[in-house]
Amino acid sequence: MEFGIFTVGDVTTDPTTGRTPTEHERIKATVEIARKAEEVGLDVVAVGQHHNPPFVASSPTTTMAYIGAQTERIKLSTSTTLITTTDPVRIAEDYATLQHLLDGRMDLMLGRGNTGPVYPWFGKDIREGIPLAIENYALLHRLWREENVDWQGRFRTPLQGFTATPRPLDGEAPFVWHGSIRSPEIAEQAAYYGDGFFSNHIFWPASHTARMVEFYRQRFEHHGHGRAEDAVVGLGGQVYLGRTHEQAVNEFRPYFDNAPVYGHGPSLEDFTRQTPLTVGTPAEVVERTLSFREYAGDYQRQLFLIDHAGVPLSTVLHQLDLLGEVVASLRNELGLAAVPTQTPAASASGSAA
């Protein structure tokens, strides 16, 4: 079981001060947040990929390489790598390079991206989102496993005897998660290959996540990768922590009320009841997080969103201090070692190779 944070790299005005960080500040903040995450004992930091304002995270592997050079232990991942609009050949090369530079301390999560206008900038069409995800990953999967690839598909130039370089570290492809909110095709894809499935979780009611995860688990077993309960599941989460419940709620409310994704809609209290968002003390976050297992089963990766909606860097770093306490308690409750030496995802990757 791994614990970490994921970010989408949004540049959002802090609604309490009216201050908007520059792109430079936001990019450097991502690095500082990652270093702090390692310091407080988290296992994973995942960065996003977006190609339109207000996001700065268009080049995840550049950011990951820089973070990797400044950290020693924490694993780097993505949330998500766009499998639809990024050439799978470039994904194969970029992430294999990263794998070498980081001595294997990385994996990646594939996603489709739901911003329609972005697709045509890369010569694609959002209406082909699922077929793009399926075909592009089929190619990526081969590029990491076969030295000479002949390829012909609908969406990119054919390849003849093509070798993606560098070859994956020790001949073992990076571990892949497939992220989706509500497309069973993506859960099926993850199950077909025996890869991980990550449910975004945070903007939807638990009943929805439960169904997607259950479907993936059954299909994972169907495709012969092991028992359903051993399928590799990851969940998102969203927290804001305080020393007291009231402090957390009062501090987070202006960010919640103005958040780009759900602001000006439900109350903080309603949204907290309806989705996994938890605002409160470390003990409250521990209890809520443990409750996810009641409907998702034993799972392998829990990522928290803590740095969006204009929350300033200083606050995010303080949140990480508290999140470190949360994760220590969660490991304790789950009977896990204080610092995992071998993560389930990494061992799953090993057995699949």
Partner: protein, 229 residues
């Protein structure tokens, strides 16, 4: 395409017609009146009453449930902004999903259905009304809006794959002039209710209707199909 993917669902899924007598048909009346008393609610009640009466005359048993959208207004806006429904909105959606037929009644605002009325159907999961008989009705201050049934409501429910009944019921202020529905309006109400009860005999049980996730799974085929594009 090969056989649909087998998937045994153990978590709670679409609300279906669980736990009721086989031959009781459930009609859900959705009304978007804002004032109290509202002529929209009044018309909705008359349609419900007529449906029950005609059903009884024909030896059928109908259970009527009411969904009044005014009480859901905040929740509907939240659902628009978050992309999912919860609480009372989710409960109302479940009622509609478990209905054998729907009566939809809206006031006319700016020459069409009201925004509140439309929002309810905007956030209703796709497929909920597939093949479901829908009786459309509207109220307005003037008879000059009467074509709203055919220019606005009918296309909306056709798009949602509902079966819109031939008779829609429109009531303008003048139809209530005598202190209640006049005889011409009552005739239209009874005719529409008769068509609704006729349709109820042939409807599929709601449990057979699939929700969006089930439909997506059923439509996708095997992974080899997906790989083959």
């Amino acid at each position: 395409m090969s056989d649909p993917i087998p998937f045994r669902r153990t978590s709670p899924g679409a609300p279906g017609g669980v736990g009721r007598a086989v031959d009781v048909r459930r009609v859900v009346v959705v009304s978007a009146g804002l004032s109290d008393p509202s002529s929209t609610k009044l018309l909705a009640d008359l349609l419900a009453e007529a449906t029950t009466r005609v059903a009884t005359e024909r030896g059928a048993v109908v259970e009527v449930q009411h969904v009044e959208l005014r009480a859901l207004a905040h929740g509907l806006t939240d659902a628009l902004l978050t992309g999912f429904a919860s609480g009372e909105v989710a409960a109302a959606q479940a009622q509609v999903a478990a209905a054998d037929a729907v009566v939809a009644v809206t006031p006319v605002f700016s020459a069409s259905y009201s925004g509140l009325f439309k929002t309810f159907f905007d956030v209703l999961e796709r497929g909920t009304l597939d093949g479901v008989p829908v009786l459309v009705a509207a109220t307005a201050g003037t008879a000059r809006h009467s074509l709203v049934l055919d220019h606005a409501l009918r296309p909306l429910f056709s798009y949602l794959h509902a079966v819109v009944l031939p008779t829609g019921v429109f009531a303008a202020s003048e139809d209530w002039a005598g202190g209640g529905a006049d005889s011409a309006l009552r005739t239209r109400i009874d005719r529409a209710a008769g068509e609704l009860v006729d349709r109820l005999a042939g409807t599929r049980a709601p449990a057979e209707r699939l929700d969006q996730f089930d439909r997506d799974v059923a439509a996708m085929g095997s992974f080899e199909d997906l790989l083959g594009g």
